[in-house]
């Protein structure tokens, strides 16, 4: 056996280091899904009537979808049937009601986030980043709220937004991803338990990065969070989410919905570093990450930019998209998706051009290693009135080893003859040549692999907020270790 292979093998044994379980009292509802459960969730969250009604409408719709077996099957992924009755749809760490300060949070939870590298005590935090921490079904803390409130930015848990800003929630909830959108989005609308809410008022540039850290802890639960971000006229905000989960043999479902709304001249930058437990090297366990993310550029000159680094989850099914309604609005999608071992990813974007002179850019980088299967699926649609629309798509796949797969499904639909479309695609393999070349210059095998991969992803990493670009690079290296033999 070659020395190269040995080094790599050793590294492959490294465990997912975010895989610990926090031992904490849970307030959990029984498994199962029915109207009583939906009412129970709503009661637990002390929700106003309109929320319960919305949930129930969603649930009744979901039942019809389930009857029609409308769970989407078109994606290039394989998994066994999910028993929606065997999931507990609400689990929250037991803690004192009415926490008024971060000091009152259970130290066990604080320690959990410390361990994950996300200290929640403000004095220990990265100066320019406010964090909302979601633990299983609930938000346990949001930092820097006071500082943000000074400029009028609302950043809080979704539950808090429902209580304190019901008008905003009512106005925008479901306005981009309606509860009828798709099977998983409908399920989410019925049972979602928390998430983050952001509202940036007119003309305000949010003074710091906002971020949410999602943590699944409890077993046999799912995480169904919902995030809603509204940037009013001339406002701008940059938001980042991160996610991890314990190592478990069973698959756990994460079905989230994210809605973004940008009004005239507003900008939203949404970055994701997704690192849910990917399953073990034989493909056992891991998170099913079935997520609906969509942004509406409602106003003229608005801009929504998605950047995602997807290294975790057993299966990823997500297509962060932009509806470019406002004239001159801009949509962007930058993605790195990595599948190692037996991970599967079917991810990409939709850019729907409605307004005049709308522009979109898609840069998707897929990396497949081990037995990983990686699919890019994209749709660019130029509507009849979208005169002067432009799209640039670049879609590259990198293969490591000979057991993995890369697949590309780009759909282009143009109904206006003035549209300008560019599409570039490539598939390459990390060659023994590249590795040997770098090692001959003194770089260790694992550093050589990560240099090649980082070079491949550079165009996307450039879009991440500085603090996280470095993290993403490291994460990619760790996720890849063991992939070259």
């Amino acid at each position: 056996m070659s020395s190269n292979t040995d080094t790599i093998r050793e590294l492959a044994q490294q465990e997912y280091k975010w895989g610990f379980v926090t031992d904490i009292g849970e307030d959990r509802i029984p498994k199962g899904l029915n109207e009583d459960i939906i009412r129970l969730i709503s009661t637990k969250k002390n929700e106003p009537e309109f929320m319960l009604e919305w949930r129930l409408k969603a649930f009744r719709h979901w039942l019809t979808l389930e009857q029609k077996q409308a769970e989407p099957k078109w994606a290039n992924i394989k998994y066994g049937p999910i028993d929606y009755q065997s999931i507990a749809y609400y689990s929250a760490p037991k803690q004192k009601p009415n926490i008024t300060s971060l000091d009152q949070i259970d130290p066990e939870i604080l320690r959990t986030y410390e361990k994950l590298g996300i200290p929640l005590l403000e004095q220990k935090m990265l100066a320019g980043v406010a964090v909302d921490a979601v633990f299983d079904s609930v938000s346990v803390a949001t930092t820097f709220k006071g500082k943000l409130a000074e400029v009028g930015v609302i950043f809080c848990s979704f539950s808090e937004a429902v209580q304190k800003h019901p008008d905003l929630v009512k106005k925008y909830l479901g306005s981009v991803v309606p509860y009828t959108d798709n099977f998983f989005a409908t399920l989410n609308a019925a049972v979602f338990t928390d998430g983050s809410f952001v509202y940036v008022p007119k003309g305000v540039r949010c003074p710091m990065e906002l971020s949410t850290y999602f943590r699944i802890n409890a077993a046999e639960t799912g995480q169904f969070e919902r995030t809603l971000i509204v940037a009013d006229e001339g406002a701008s905000v940059s938001y980042l989410e991160g996610c991890t989960a314990p190592i478990r043999d069973e698959n756990q479902l994460h079905a989230a919905v994210v809605e973004l709304i940008a009004l005239d001249d507003a900008q939203i930058k949404y970055s994701t570093v997704q690192n849910w437990y990917p399953g073990d090297k034989n493909g056992k366990g891991g998170i099913y990450n079935f997520v609906t993310k969509r942004g509406a550029c409602r106003g003229k000159n608005s801009k929504i930019s998605w950047t995602q680094v997807e290294t975790g989850s057993a299966i990823t099914w997500k297509y962060p998209s932009c509806i470019l309604q406002g004239d001159n609005s801009v949509g962007e999608f930058y993605s790195v998706a990595l599948t190692n071992n037996y991970q599967q990813a079917d991810t990409g974007t939709k850019m729907i051009h409605i307004g005049k002179n709308t522009r979109s850019t898609i840069v998707a980088k897929g990396i497949s290693a081990g037995h990983g299967q990686n699919t890019y699926r994209g749709q660019v649609k130029i509507m009849k009135d979208a005169t002067g629309a432009r799209n640039y798509t670049q879609c590259d796949s990198l293969l490591i080893g000979d057991q993995c797969g890369a697949h590309t499904f780009p759909y282009i639909e143009v109904k206006n003859s003035t549209a300008h479309m560019e599409h570039e695609a490539s598939t390459s393999k990390i060659g023994e040549d590249q590795l040997f070349y770098l090692r001959q210059r003194g770089l260790k095998a694992e550093d050589a692999v990560s240099m090649i991969v980082n070079g491949f992803c550079k165009r996307v990493f450039r879009e991440l907020p500085m603090e996280f670009a470095v993290e993403a690079q490291k994460l990619l290296s760790v996720s890849l270790e063991g992939s070259v033999g």
């Binding site: 090692r439 001959q440 003194g442 550093d447 992803c457």
Partner: protein, 254 residues
């Protein structure tokens, strides 16, 4: 002790024996040239020295600086001071030439227990080497070898050698694909690197390069063995008569 000592080296690739008992000693300060017809095993020798896997060493020993080279990984050999200028330099998209060079230098410095060099200290050093090879500074910000011309790639190899300052530099067919001007510039760069502490092994098919990089010894490799060793005159003789006469003589004496 020689810097490089190859004893009875046998190498197989799949079912074929490529090197059939190579013996070679190279001392610091010397320039040796390995010449030979296509398929004689020249490049295999270079690759084995640089520790490329996929070559199966079935017998023999290589000491580099007194250490067992065959026990080393490619990066260890590099950190010990062995450098291979590739016949076909590889492209690394998205990684700037400058970043790559500094990473390589720092990997080697770290191995040797030296402090890593920051960009501030590194750049002036790099610029000075660039000048030596008459290379455009813009090449530093471009991805490693990506969209480089053939000549730029070869010059980039010598630039790396100049930055990494190896004890033993192996030049594998560095002259191939170079026009005469580029050849001269590359050779000048290499000559500037000659020093009493450094040895070079110049692998080439043609004598042409040796007009510019004058070797102390010329070895002729035929069918996996060094069949003749001489000085630079041997190279001229080969140029004039081709490899056939030496192969025929070998057949007679064998």
């Amino acid at each position: 002790m020689s810097l490089l000592e190859i004893t009875n080296l046998h190498v197989r690739v799949e079912d074929r024996e490529i090197l059939k008992g190579v013996n070679l000693k190279v001392d610091a300060g010397q320039v040796h040239s390995i010449m030979g017809p296509n398929g004689s095993g020249k490049s295999t020798l270079a690759q084995v020295l640089a520790r490329r896997e996929a070559y199966n060493v079935t017998a023999g020993e290589i000491l580099f600086n007194g250490k067992d080279l065959l026990a080393m990984k490619p990066e260890e050999a590099a950190c010990e001071g062995l450098f291979l200028a590739f016949q076909y330099p590889v492209e690394i998209p998205g990684i700037s030439n400058a970043y790559f060079l500094r990473s390589a230098l720092n990997a080697i410095r770290k191995y040797r227990g030296q402090d890593e060099m920051d960009a501030m200290d590194f750049l002036p050093k790099l610029r000075e080497k660039l000048k030596l090879l008459q290379m455009d500074e813009k090449l530093l910000n471009r991805s490693v070898n990506e969209a480089f011309s053939g000549g730029e790639k070869k010059r980039n190899e010598i630039l790396q050698m100049a930055v990494l300052e190896p004890k033993l530099a192996i030049l594998d067919e560095t002259d191939s694909g170079l026009d005469i001007d580029a050849l001269r510039i590359v050779a000048e760069g290499v000559n500037a690197m000659r020093s009493p502490e450094r040895a070079m092994l110049v692998v080439t098919h043609y004598q042409r390069l040796l007009n510019y990089i004058v070797p102390d010894y010329v070895h002729v490799l035929v069918d996996g063995r060094i069949v003749r060793t001489g000085d630079k005159k041997l190279a001229f003789e080969l140029e004039e008569k081709g490899y056939d006469w030496i192969i025929k003589e070998e057949a007679v004496t064998a």
